[in-house]
Amino acid sequence: MMSDIWILATACLVASSCALVGVFLVLRRQSLLGDAISHSVLLGIVLSYLMMDGRSEIAMMVGAVIMGLLTAWLAEWLQKHPLLKSDVSIGMIFTSFFALGVVLISVYAGQIDLDQECVLYGEIAFVPFDTVIWGGESMGPRAFWLALVVFLVNVSVIAVVFERYRLMAFHPVLAVALGVSVPMWHTLLMAQVSLTTVASFDAVGAILVVALLVIPASSAYLVATSLKTMLVWALGYAQLSVLLGYGLAVWLDSAIAASIAVMAGVLLLATILFQQLIQKQSQKASLASEAH
């Protein structure tokens, strides 16, 4: 029972972080960059394992942020070449980094406590067993604290630079004209994406993070009327996905992270269906009133 609560709490925090950061990715039309970073972060994690000869949270974070920023920067640099378009350069970089990560895992299988399974699914079911022990007492799962720290970092960064991010998302040209350093805030956002991905890695693996980044934020994009409400909606969709997804996983005995991602998608499709129905209704109503 206690372990269920830890799993749910970790998943909720991870999903919330992803949703908040995802809102800005979706608004800035950089969902694919988010996809790319979440793949590249794997290489950062693997390298940090190899360099530190084992698991170290700080090294993982540093490695992940470096690889994430490197991905964003290389993608931008390559796409300046006249023969390469933006999605080509993104696609090339993240597949190469991810491939290198997977190959390193398979070559150094004995030395890295990671396998292809956890890259894909995450290991949220095992989260409760890896606990932090402080002063002789168990303080709860390590992944939970990591997710909590990253969530708090994300919330405070967004709160502090809210206006800058808003300007960058809605009026990038105006932002430049006003003297806002767009590259700097862009880098900050990419660092947030990398941090969020690495905190989510234990829980949901490298690939399903994309679902949590993009899907709740897109659902929120459909219903929200302002940036603030979009953030709130995204958080709401994320929490609902976690709760329903966990129920689905228990019911079908399927992977928890995958089920959460599936429920996020189901909620998005339900939102679209609902909106389409309302649209049809109002069209009918207006046709009827014209006929009278």
Partner: protein
């Protein structure tokens, strides 16, 4: 690293026996990988030039649930059934990806990421569900995530190779039409070409290539085999036909090397190795290709400076 040095002699012996075609199964793996590399790079070339580079990524991820559902329904891993399942769900992914931006506020890039991650999650969920079931023949299903060429049977490889050949044949026959539509869609339309028909044919070819690549390259990294060869080839020559040939050679080479690697280390995932080979070939082209490579561009720029000074 020590293991590698000790075993390197064995690796040489194995490589030698691989290239003397002593192992019939390995020969089929080689044929399959090369044909896959060639057909994926040729089809991928058109996708990249049409600015649809990452569509293959989404299609490959979308194939996963189809394969899993096909297994749940028929309890077999026969290649034909898996191909059909993968095709159906890839096409569904393709439809969702094109429907979303047209009918909702969602932008194309988000639509791609949504489709990719949603279908992939569905596939993983189905896979974990199957692994909890008590059915025979479920082992090896997870190999389509990262590909494992060495685990494939000659029968599967014969099916895959014939599909790859058929795809190449269709591209060869329709090359002129595809070129016209890729570079000048409106002109093609004004000539009375049925652009939407050819686009549908092309979408099917793309799905086919992705689907036959699943077991060799895997779902996760299929995109690289589609888009890296052509991106590298563009540094060699400006002409489309030449680009396609160069891309095909690069794709074939990467297939060859990865078949060799999967012979040496049968349990290693093939896809990531193939992508690393491709990345190396891209880097080589980016730096040293004669047409637009960095090195020759640099030399030409220097020559130009010198003549300007005179």
């Amino acid at each position: 690293m020590a293991d590698w040095q000790v075993m390197s002699a064995d690796y040489w012996a194995l490589t030698l026996s691989f290239w003397q075609f002593e192992d019939a199964n390995a020969l089929w793996v080689l044929v399959g990988s090369v044909l896959l590399g060639v057909s994926a790079s040729v089809v991928g070339s058109f996708a990249v030039l049409k600015r649809q580079a990452l569509i293959g990524d989404a299609l490959a991820h979308s194939a996963l649930p189809g394969v899993m559902v096909a297994f749940m329904l028929f309890h077999t891993q026969s290649p034909i059934i898996m191909l059909i399942g993968a095709m159906v769900s890839s096409l569904m992914g393709f439809m969702l990806m094109s429907w979303l931006p047209k009918n909702t506020k969602i932008k194309p890039d988000a639509a791609l990421a949504i489709t990719l991650s949603l279908f992939f999650a569905l596939g993983l969920m189905a896979l974990s569900y199957i692994q909890g079931l008590n059915v025979a023949g479920k082992s090896g299903l997870d190999k389509i995530l990262f590909g494992q060429a060495a685990a494939m049977l000659p029968e599967d490889l014969i099916v895959l190779s014939s599909v790859a050949l058929a795809v190449l044949l269709v591209v060869g026959l329709l090359f002129q039409k595809f070129r016209l539509i890729t570079f000048n869609e409106n002109y093609a339309r004004s000539l009375g070409l049925s652009v939407s028909l050819y686009q549908a044919v092309f979408a099917c070819l793309l799905v086919l290539v992705v689907v036959i690549g699943l077991q060799i390259v895997g779902v996760v990294l299929m995109a690289a085999v589609l888009l890296v060869p052509v991106s590298a080839a563009r540094f060699w020559h400006p002409n489309l036909a030449v680009i396609l040939w160069v891309a095909a050679i690069i794709g074939g080479l990467s297939g060859m090397v990865s078949a060799n690697i999967s012979y040496l280390a049968p349990s290693a995932p093939t896809g990531p190795w193939m992508v690393l080979v491709l990345a190396g070939l891209f880097l080589l082209s980016f730096l040293f290709a004669p047409y637009q490579g960095w090195f020759f561009n640099r030399i030409r720029a220097n020559d130009k400076d010198l003549t300007d000074d005179e």
